[in-house]
């Protein structure tokens, strides 16, 4: 039963963190390079700009769900299973989602990198 709970938590983590990453990436692209913005307008303006971007809060929501599902997973299984399994699946899910929703050009180089890292992370759990 613990195994079912652990894998439910892992899949919930993959879905929530992918959605959160996509929303967050969308929000931060809208905000712009925070380093340059801070130099030009100061730290407060950067924070204000981030907090007035609606997709930032959706990203935070996704990340919060991912965080608590990770806590659930860690309570039911070992770190060496939960984190690598969730992370390796998330790499592939993110590459797909970034291509579909963010229109990022995920070329051969990035697909190979995502698959190498996902495979490597999965092997680390063995």
């Amino acid at each position: 039963m613990k195994n079912i709970y652990a894998w439910t938590a892992i899949w919930l983590n993959v879905f929530a963190s992918t959605a959160g990453n996509v929303w967050l990436s969308h929000a931060m692209k809208k905000v712009g390079d925070v380093g340059e913005l801070r130099k030009q307008y100061g730290f407060r303006r950067v924070i204000k700009r981030i907090l007035t971007t609606p997709t930032f809060f959706l990203g935070m929501l996704g990340m919060a769900v991912a965080f608590y599902s990770l806590l659930f997973g860690l309570a039911w299984a070992n770190l060496s299973l939960v984190v690598p399994a969730a992370a390796s699946l998330t790499f592939v899910a993110n590459a797909l989602a970034a291509r579909i929703f963010l229109h990022e050009q995920v070329g051969r180089r990035r697909w190979i990198a995502a698959l190498l890292v996902a495979g490597g992370v999965a092997l680390m759990a063995v």
């Binding site: 990436s25 390079d33 925070v34 970034a98 990035r110 990198a113 992370v121």
Partner: protein, 144 residues
């Protein structure tokens, strides 16, 4: 890519695995969480290890947001995955844990993946749509 941007990527790489390890230690102290007692999960943040883990994860989140403001998601995620290698090396060097050949292979794959993506462009630039063009303009990548 400037030195500052490499520092931000290094922050994303280091803060996350340290935060995860601290969370793991805290949650092991608390024991298994029951679905019938969700309040114990909310109260878990009061555990010092979990609290420290959360502080590290906040630092990770700030540097991650900064990275996403100037680089693609599909660049940032693989480029910062050396954190997994870092955890294994800390375990090997700091705690004298043994690393199996399979794990060494995993480390090699991750390192190769990081090298692959880091050598490529960091951001996709969507050109302004042409006045008479189709809505789905062809994307092109620029060198960092």
């Amino acid at each position: 890519m400037t030195f500052r941007k490499y520092l931000v990527l290094a922050g994303v790489t280091v803060f996350s695995p340290v935060g995860d390890a601290l969370l793991n230690r805290g949650m092991k102290q608390l024991g298994a969480v029951s679905l019938h007692d969700l309040s114990s999960l909310l109260l878990a943040v009061l555990n010092p290890w979990v609290a420290c883990g959360i502080l590290f994860l906040i630092a990770y989140f700030a540097s991650y947001m900064a990275a996403l403001s100037w680089a693609d998601l599909t660049y940032v995620l693989p480029a910062t995955s050396l954190g997994y290698v870092l955890v294994a090396l800390i375990a090997r060097i700091g705690f004298h844990e043994s690393i199996s050949p399979t794990r060494w292979l995993g480390i090699a794959l991750i390192t190769a993946g990081v090298g692959f993506v880091a050598a490529g462009p960091s951001v996709t630039v969507l050109p302004e749509p042409a006045k008479t063009g189709t809505p789905e303009a062809v994307t092109q990548e620029v060198q960092p």
